[in-house]
Symmetry: C2
């Protein structure tokens, strides 16, 4: 059974704090192994990648077969179920449209002194996208990572995906093609991350690496950070549903289970002001679990980390939701919009009973790569800006330098940086 809390009980504050502090993930200590893999790849490039792929993926590659050919991609697409392919195209179009609106504007202006200022956004020159192999090879995630890169204008998008025993998921290749990925390599693990960051004879280096992976991939991303940029380190997924008596308990139960089926470390939470609804949802979860293919995973997640929190009224839900800072927040209540406007911390908000989070996972258009494990307090879902960077611009003429120079000299001197002061003074003939 999931945890049941109520703000009406005296121990609520302590029990809610415990819920927030729950560690849902055991961090495997793999950094030494990963360091050794990195040293191999940096020293021996392709040779090391090929050896490590043979060892870990039971796959024999050559520099020539490392890359997935255009023919193979075409064959994979031909092998895909037509209905699924159509769904993938719809998803790609909607993700593209949504992200187009995130393209930032440059700025350039002249201030009252005549100083020209501004900034300019440019796309990152090459990005790498890590796609996990096996059961976690999600074509939807390929779209969610690659399309914003394309919209940003990245000229080179490189995907790596392990092919254990040589097997690749055709839908993953179809998604890469749809999203405009430029190069696909059938390698994975820490070795693929180091190959992307440092380059090999076959794979030119990229400037930033995105995408989820196992503990080895996460450790490799941490280690190459600095050499290249990385996105967030993804943690286990979570959903918070805030609901009142207008909500359908069966629908909520389905949404809680959709989150729980991801991973035994996923977390599904419900906050409601209606005790009857809470009971009905708990019962509906049990009923729906019975016929779920991934019942083991979902059931474990729900029992270990699920919780139903009863509040006196939905105003109380606002500060709780901000502390939970859920990756996904569904609000199924009369005043869903009003509540949403008052909540500061959430990766994505799904409004009303007809917006199950799964719509957002696939075809809503917004990004499904979202901040997990309470990080929505300080970070955002993936977007176009993650594939761009901003350069600031400054231009003074002689007059502007005369106007601003004395203050710059005063501050340079106050900070003990005389060469700073002089670099200004020398242009004002005070040097």
């Amino acid at each position: 059974m999931p945890l049941r809390l109520s703000t009406r009980t005296n121990d609520f504050a302590a029990r809610f704090a415990e819920l927030l502090a729950m560690k849902r993930e055991v961090s495997e200590e793999v950094s030494q192994t990963v360091k050794a893999i990195g040293a191999e790849v940096i020293a021996r490039g392709d040779d090391a990648v090929i050896e490590l792929t043979a060892r870990f993926d039971k796959l024999t590659l050559t520099p020539a077969t490392m890359r997935v050919s255009a023919d193979e991609i075409a064959q994979a697409i031909a092998a895909c179920d037509a209905r699924t392919l159509e769904a993938l195209k719809l998803a790609a179009e909607r993700i593209h449209s949504y992200h187009l609106r995130q393209r930032p504007r440059d700025d350039r202006f002249t201030d009252a002194l005549g100083v020209e200022l501004g900034y300019r956004w440019t796309a990152i020159e090459a990005v790498g996208l890590y796609v996990p192999g096996g059961t976690a090879a999600y074509p939807s995630s390929v779209l969610m990572n690659a399309i914003p890169a394309k919209v940003a204008g990245c000229p080179r998008i490189v995907m790596v995906v392990p092919a254990p025993g040589g097997v690749l998921n055709p839908l993953v290749l179809a998604a890469a093609d749809l999203a405009g990925v430029d190069e696909v390599y059938r390698i994975g693990g820490a070795q693929a991350v180091f190959a992307l960051a440092h380059g090999t004879a076959t794979i030119k280096p990229v400037a930033k690496i995105m995408g989820p992976g196992n503990a080895f991939v996460a450790a490799a991303k941490r280690q190459v950070f600095g050499t290249v940029g990385i996105d967030m380190i993804a943690g286990p997924s979570e959903v918070l549903v805030i609901a009142d008596k207008t909500a359908n308990p069966d629908w909520i139960a389905a949404d809680l289970l959709a989150q729980a089926e991801h991973d035994t470390a996923a977390q599904s939470l419900l906050i409601t002001d209606d005790p009857t609804l809470g009971d009905a949802v708990v019962a509906a979860v049990e009923r729906q679990l019975v016929t779920l293919p991934r019942a083991d995973i979902a059931g474990t997640s729900w029992r270990d980390y699920g919780a139903v929190i009863e509040v006196a009224n939905l105003d109380e839900a606002v500060p709780l939701a901000d502390r939970i800072a859920a990756e996904h927040l569904e609000i199924i209540a009369e005043d869903a919009e009003g509540l949403a406007a008052r909540i500061r911390n959430a990766g994505a908000i799904f409004l009303g009973g007809h917006t199950p989070e799964a719509i957002g996972d696939y075809v809503g258009g917004s990004n499904h790569v979202l901040p997990t494990a309470r990080s929505a307090r300080f970070s955002s879902g993936l977007g176009v800006l993650d594939f761009m960077k901003r350069t600031s611009l400054l231009k003074c003429g002689p007059e502007q330098l005369r106007a601003l120079g004395p203050a710059a000299i005063a501050l340079g001197e106050a900070e003990g940086l005389d060469a700073h002061a002089r670099s200004v003074a020398i242009r004002m003939n005070l040097g």
Copy 2:
């Protein structure tokens, strides 16, 4: 003498690659020490912070005296030199104006299907700003970190600054006051970072920690990342000047030295198509070094990491500048604007002979916290967005769910996530 390279020589590619690969920083291995400090602060809060401050800063504190009082700040301001204070005010105003233009717009729209989409930006609820003590206590950096937080709308800005032997820089306190910092604590080192991240009885936790620091501070930031957000880990600073025959060699020399005086690991580079200018700059650096208070530091940086690169024409400078990806890029050439437009990777660009980088450090208005060590390939200078996060919004009604549902169900099933598919189907009466 600095390195002299020329694209006309056969070994240029190799020597340029060596220049890029130069390690300018020895990374101290302090992570175990920092881990122990973190465990202490997490377990014992204020008591641990007070003990560690006594040990490292030779300063006896109580929970009550940890915070710098409003009276002390007022007294510090009164003790500041009036001219410096005016300069600081001018800087604060200009930084404020520049960053106001970076405030992002929310988006909300309804697509052709009637799906409501959008995103909303919100300020991070509490941010911590680390300010180094001693000689590296730069009031300008307080402005550069705190003002964008204020512009973003962060309701709580907390500053920590070590006070070795009890001494604080009055200008740093004046800058904190000007910038609107809400709380100032006289603590520093790894213990201050852990106190900000995890909170103590006296210091409420923050959600993101910004600001530069020594190896212990950097290691602590890496360790708390995840619990809170962090900004970049700052590396040694660098400038690249691209200049043609129209440039004044004395001015360039002054700019190269302004960079070099920061740190022996700083790097000053010149690319020019005019060999005479190259020689003249090298000679001018030597002349100017003689009378520079920080000649030791600047001279070491220039000898160890400085370089003059001669190119056949400034077109050749563009790809070199992109590979260098300098934190600061000055372009002093006839077609400065044209060159700037073609360069992808730079933290900040300073256009023309009358825009020494030191203007940007203090009073230009743009931010001086910029990506170092080639990271301008994938990251941006500090800005308002670093203090905000984006929540995506999605709202479907029954019709929109019917339109998008089948594709979401198809993709959920294709990914083996049946509960995802069901959470949609149950609302379409297909479940």
